[in-house]
């Protein structure tokens, strides 16, 4: 449980922070796509008896570069590219699973998340990646925001737009992939979307938007973990439902009492 709280809390910060930019740049599908695509590399990792998360992170970096290059050099839309990657990665995973003997509990845990089975090595991987991602966001906060608002304005301002976009895509993918262990392939992208969505409803400045996203994300993860622990519920789904309920409450209060 201790490792679950530490890992979950670290991930809550970085996914909420990233989610602000993912929302602004309308890239929500990237999180979902990368999470599903990671199933292939996770399955390969399990089949080869190597740490599946490490393998999936390296594969995620590779896929991010592919997404970036295809978007810059073809006429395909971002959604189409991510859709192709999503379906292909997932299909690789399904094919490998079909060839594995017997029931694969570890693989099923990755589908729906198993935050309470996070080991010490998993926790350290999550902490390191969360720390690196957060430092990147803090250092590039202003440039990334301007880039997300208008690419050409950012370029004329001297921002290295190509490099920043590539690094951002990699950071989102890798952060999502390490979150797969906690929340599962199916649900992890919710943590990228729900906290910023709730925060957006109640924020009137960018700074408050970011801070509230992080705060709400922590509440959702910690609250969801407590509820799942005491009521013996699947942790990933409980965290996401906690977020969904919070979203409904905030929107309801704003609509009924404040407008």
């Amino acid at each position: 449980m201790q490792r679950a709280f530490i890992s979950g809390s670290a991930l809550a910060v970085v996914l909420a922070f990233l989610g602000v930019y993912v929302t602004l740049r309308k890239m929500s599908f990237l999180g979902d796509g990368m999470a599903h695509a990671s199933l292939g590399s996770i399955a390969i990792g399990i089949a080869l008896s190597v740490n599946p998360i490490v393998f999936a992170v390296l594969f995620g970096v590779f896929l991010s570069v592919i997404v970036y290059l295809l978007e810059r050099n073809t006429k395909l839309s971002f959604d189409a590219i991510v859709g192709i990657i999503f379906a292909s990665g997932m299909s690789i995973g399904i094919v490998i699973i079909s060839k594995m003997q017997g029931y694969q509990p570890e693989l099923v845990a990755f589908l729906f998340g198993s935050i309470l089975s996070v080991g010490w090595s998993d926790m350290w991987i999550i902490l390191v990646i969360s720390a690196v991602s957060t430092v990147f966001l803090l250092l590039s906060y202003r440039s990334l925001t301007l880039l997300s608002l208008h690419r050409d304005m950012a370029a004329v301002s001297g921002i290295k737009v190509d490099f920043l976009e590539l690094v951002f895509t990699i950071i989102v993918s890798v952060s999502i992939i390490v979150g797969v262990k906690l929340l599962g392939v199916v649900l992890v992208s919710a943590l990228l979307i729900i906290p910023p969505s709730v925060s957006k409803v109640i924020s009137r400045s960018f700074h408050s938007f970011v801070l509230r996203s992080i705060f709400l994300s922590e509440c959702i993860v910690v609250g969801g973990l407590f509820i799942s622990y005491y009521f013996d519920l699947p942790s990933g789904a409980t965290i996401v439902l906690t977020g969904a309920v919070l979203f409904a409450i905030v929107v309801g209060i704003k609509k009924v009492f404040l407008e």
Binding site: T145, H150, M153, K200, R204, F209
Partner: protein
């Protein structure tokens, strides 16, 4: 006098399509230059090529004698379109602060907003601004690092006639106070006569450049826009 912009035999294409051919002109420091031409002439392409936002097939571009990669700090830019989710939480002050070159220059935010008469709106959400107010804020953002040259792509789209006159008067006032060079893409030929001292006429290639009163003849206008166009001179 220093040349603010030098374009020499510029050729720009996208895939196999040639957008601009053999374009050569220059703009002096302190000019208010307007790039005009019909729809699809390549005006925005020319501006984006000068700013290094698109690759060029051949030719040379210099801004104050430098390649664009070394001249960005001298440039301010107001794009043609600023498509933005108006529900996104972002204040005017924050929007400007993201463009500041140095964080300890926050006093500049108020100064540039005063230049465009928007100082009272520093805490307002960008999404709540009217079209005209947003254009002013975009200019303030472009001016935040005190550039030597301001590039604007059709900056008055969506602003009514009264608003446009006020907008151009504001630009002239800024130009006078700061000595800035202005390069503007526009559809409005009357603006060229009234406010610019240099015109660049583009329709896939260069049709003219120089002083508007000398270069914008009825023949030139017809060659740019077609025979259906008639030129009327206002008697002020």
């Amino acid at each position: 006098m220093t040349k603010a912009v030098e374009v020499v035999d510029l050729n720009v294409g996208i895939e196999r399509e040639i957008i601009l051919q053999h374009v050569t002109f220059d703009i002096e420091e302190g000019d208010f230059a307007t790039i005009i031409g019909p729809n699809g002439a390549g005006k925005t392409t020319l501006l984006r090529a000068i700013l290094g936002l698109i690759p060029v097939k051949s030719g040379q571009i210099r801004i104050f004698g430098r390649h664009i990669s070394g001249a960005r700090e001298l440039c301010g830019y107001v794009p043609q379109r600023f498509d933005f989710d108006r529900t996104f939480p972002l204040t005017v002050g924050e929007f400007l602060s993201f463009s500041l070159r140095y964080r300890n220059e926050k006093g500049r935010i108020r100064k540039v907003l005063e230049m465009v008469d928007m100082e009272e709106h520093v805490g307002k959400m960008v999404g709540a601004l009217s079209g005209g107010q947003l254009q002013r804020v975009l200019i303030a953002r472009a001016m935040i690092n005190y550039p030597r040259i301001l590039f604007m792509d059709e900056p008055v789209g969506g602003i009514d006639i009264a608003g446009r006159n006020a907008f151009y008067q504001m630009l002239l006032s800024m130009k006078k106070d700061m000595g800035i060079t202005i390069v503007m893409v526009s559809h409005e030929v009357d603006v060229v006569y009234k406010f610019s001292n240099r015109v660049v006429c583009i329709s896939r290639t260069l049709h003219c450049h120089g002083h508007p009163h000398e270069k914008l003849t009825p023949q030139l206008i017809r060659s740019l826009y077609g025979d259906a166009v008639t030129l009327f001179e206002h008697r002020d």
